[in-house]
Every structure is written in C-alpha cells, then in structure tokens.
Amino acid sequence: MAFRDDLRRTRAIVWKDLTTERRSKAGFNAVASLGVTILVLFGLTLGPDTPALRAAAAGALWLAVLFAGVLAFNRSYQVELDGGALEALLLYPGSRWAIFAGKLIANLIFVTAMLVIVVAVGIVLFQVVVPAQWPALVGVMMLGVIGIVALGTFYAAMSSRSRAREVLLPLLLYPMLIPVLLASTTATKVLLNGDLMHEAGAWVQMLSAFDVIFLVATFLAFEYVIEV
C-alpha cells in the first residue's frame, strides 16, 4: 500500500514538473537552444569537410546533451526553490525516493525531448548517414541519457540548497560522468561507422553497468542529500 502511495506521489511530481515546464516554456527553449548552438558552432568550426564532420558528430552530440542537460537539472530544482515549494514537497509524508523518482522521470522526458531536436539538427549539420543499426543507436542514446539524468538529478538536489548551485553542479557532475560519456560517445561513434568490428556491445555493457550503479546509488543516497 505504501509503495502504491509512493508511486502515486511520483506520478504527481512528474505531472507537476512537466505541466509547469510546458506552461512556462522558458526552460525547454533555453535548453534546446543551447544544444543546437553547440552543434552549430562545432559544425562551423569543422567546415564543409564531410569525413571530419561525421567523425566529430558523436562527440558534438553528447557535448550538446551534457551542457544543455546541466541547464535542465539546475532548472528542475529552481522551480521548487522559487516559491519555497521544495520545503512543501519535503513536508509531504511518504518515501523520499518517490520525490527523486518523480524528478528523475520528468528530467528524462525533458532531456529526451531535447535530444530528439539535437539529434535531428546533428544529422543535418554533420551530414550523418543513419546506420542500419539505428535501433541500437537509439538504445545507446537512451542509456547515455539515463546515466546523465540520474547523476544530474541527484547532484542538482545536492547543490540546490547552495547559493553557488549553478557553479557547484558542473563541478560535482562532470567528473562523475566521465565513464558514461566515454561509453556513450564511443558506442555512438562505432555505431555511426557501421560497427564493423562489433565493438559496440562491450561499450553498451559498460554503459548499462554504470547506469545500474548510478541509479541504485542515487536512489539510496537521495534521502541524505535532500535533508538538512
């Protein structure tokens, strides 16, 4: 019964976060614009050299997701801090993991929506030929996003009470994301090149393992970082 109550709370938080975001639109516009701008700047720097553009596509894409994601994570707690709603949220009975799960799912949907735009722009700008293994590529992207969002949501909660949260979040997040970014970028690059050496599987396994570790660790630790 308590578990079902917590699931209901999680759903409520997802609905609330997505509804407030849909209405204000400020967050999504800023995040998607940043992602696209990074891709455009990368494309302009590399010039009209198609092989170079294709070789850099995976790195540029994940860099765009990373930077835009940090903006999204900071914003997801800013909404709570603006009207003192974080306190109200913490005063509701129920498990703390329900709050984290709600924030995590809302951020996942938010970052995935941004990823769709970034990928579409990236395919055009970097002249990417969509490979035959595109479902595997989609899987890699989702695994990468899950890893980034799990850690991003967690560290955003941790830094949310700090006055320097905009500076603190990247400082905490970037070093921890190195394995996820390494695996995501390499697997994406390998799949875009057709995965001739069948390397992608190993990177996907590594990515999945890190996702599981990060998800379990962040769910367990959230209660302690959100308390004062």
């Binding site: 209405r23 009207g83 306190e87 109200a88």
Partner: protein, 254 residues
C-alpha cells in the same frame, strides 16, 4: 497480596495521562559556531494551543522547522505524538501541518491544480478541494495561475492546503502575515476547529492581538531556551502585554 483494583489503576495511569502532541527535550541547534537553540524543552498536550514568542533571530522558526522535520537538531530529542523527528520523520510528517511565511506554491499551476497536487501528495481525496477553496474564498479564481495572486491570496491558498490536510499538530509560523481581517478570521476559525477536534498547535507570533481567543498559553524563546514570559519579557520582545490581558486572549497565560 496487591490490591487488584490498585494494580489496575496503576497500569492504566499512562492511558489516562493527556497525550503529548509535542515533546521537545533539550533541542539544540547551531549554525556554524553560533548556537541558536541551546536546549529547548516544550511539551504541548493534544488539544492545546501554544503561542511562541521571541525577538527576531531567537530561534522560533528554527525550532518549528526542526519539529516539522525540515531541519535536524544538533542535540536533544523531539517527539510528535510519540514519533521521533530524527528517526521517524515519515510518521511525524503524517501528523504535522506546517504553515510558514513562504507559501510553497507553484506559480505556473492554477489554485485548483496546486491543491490537487497537494491532495495527491498527502493521499487525501481530491473531492474536498472545491470545499477547501470555497472556504478560503478563492473559488472565483480557482482556475487562474498562482503567479497572478497577491500575497494574501497565496496565504489563503496555503491555508486551503492545511484545511485539506487537517493535521493533528499545526505549526504556524507567523500565520497572520499578509492576511486581511477576513483572512485572520478564517485562520482563527480553522485553529479553533482543529482544537475542537483534539488537535494541537504551536503558533509563532510577533503580535498577539490577531490570536486573541485561540491560545491556551504563550511561551517565549530567549537565549536559546523556552521561558514562560513575564510582562517585562513581553515588553522586551515588543509584544503589548495589554493584548494578552484582554479577556478573549487571557485564558491560560501565566
């Protein structure tokens, strides 16, 4: 051979004792090197309404936040209906309703959506939402976004959230701020209603006048500890003693 009647009475004694809604024992809290609370002892019985006074920065809000599980005490223990705020936070949150000077609402949701969200989080039926909105006089703006609400309207909406919750221990931190006369009357009506149902309340106040007739006693926090205020204490804290000697508010104040 022990008298069975006496034994029965002795065994039933704890059941006859008034239930403690709040039992704070030596609660202390420091921020850095500064001790704001140095050992607060405060017992509030179920059905009792207590006013908490003290000058700015004396630790009233800090104490309330500790009881509400929003802040951890550096030392001491605090129980809400027997549940330890440190170790049984979830149980405590089932009993406590906290009304602070921060509304804790979402600007981009309507008044009704804010209450629907609260009802879901609290696990209460959303059928009561319209009644709560009507009671605080916000039915006509229930579909408008909170962003356009005045401070007083936001306070009324926060009160509607409390009405939905109907907590057993009400923690009110300066509840009359930004409320007009009708709003004050609403707030007092809710406190009395809760009182009649056996609930307790701790009310942080700077001015006792709006709370006349709803408090059973007042205490003050000074030097990080709880005292029963004398007239001189009240004057020191900027509270007019005449306000609590008025007939409506005099009950139980020592």
């Amino acid at each position: 051979m022990p008298n069975p009647l006496i034994t029965a009475v002795q065994n039933s004694a704890p059941l006859l004792a008034p239930e403690l809604a709040l039992d704070a024992r030596g609660v202390a809290r420091r921020f850095g090197a500064r001790w704001v609370l140095r050992g607060v002892n405060l017992q509030v019985r179920a059905g009792e309404m207590v006013g908490l006074l003290g000058h700015n920065g004396c630790g009233k809000s800090t104490f309330m936040r500790i009881v509400a599980t929003l802040l951890k005490a550096s030392a001491g223990d605090c129980f809400v209906y027997g549940a330890n705020v440190k170790t049984e936070g979830d149980d405590v949150r089932h009993h406590v309703g906290f009304f602070s000077h921060i509304p804790g609402l979402y600007d981009d949701l309507s008044a009704r959506e804010n209450l629907a969200f609260a009802a879901t989080m609290l696990g209460f039926p959303s059928a009561d939402i319209d009644a709560a909105l009507e009671r605080v006089g916000l039915t006509h703006v229930m579909h408008e976004h909170v962003r356009g609400f005045s401070a007083g309207m936001q306070r009324r909406l926060s009160l509607a959230r409390l009405i939905l919750q109907r907590p057993r221990l009400l923690l009110l931190d300066e509840p009359y701020n930004n409320l007009d006369v009708a709003g004050i009357s609403l707030m007092n009506g809710f406190i009395r209603e809760l009182n009649a149902a056996g609930g307790a309340a701790v009310v942080v106040l700077h001015d006792l006048v709006p709370a006349q007739g709803v408090l059973d006693r007042t205490v003050t926090i000074r030097d990080g500890r709880v005292h029963t205020p004398s007239t001189a204490d009240l004057r020191h804290d900027g509270v007019s003693p005449e306000a609590i000697t008025a007939p409506a508010g005099a009950a139980g104040i020592s």
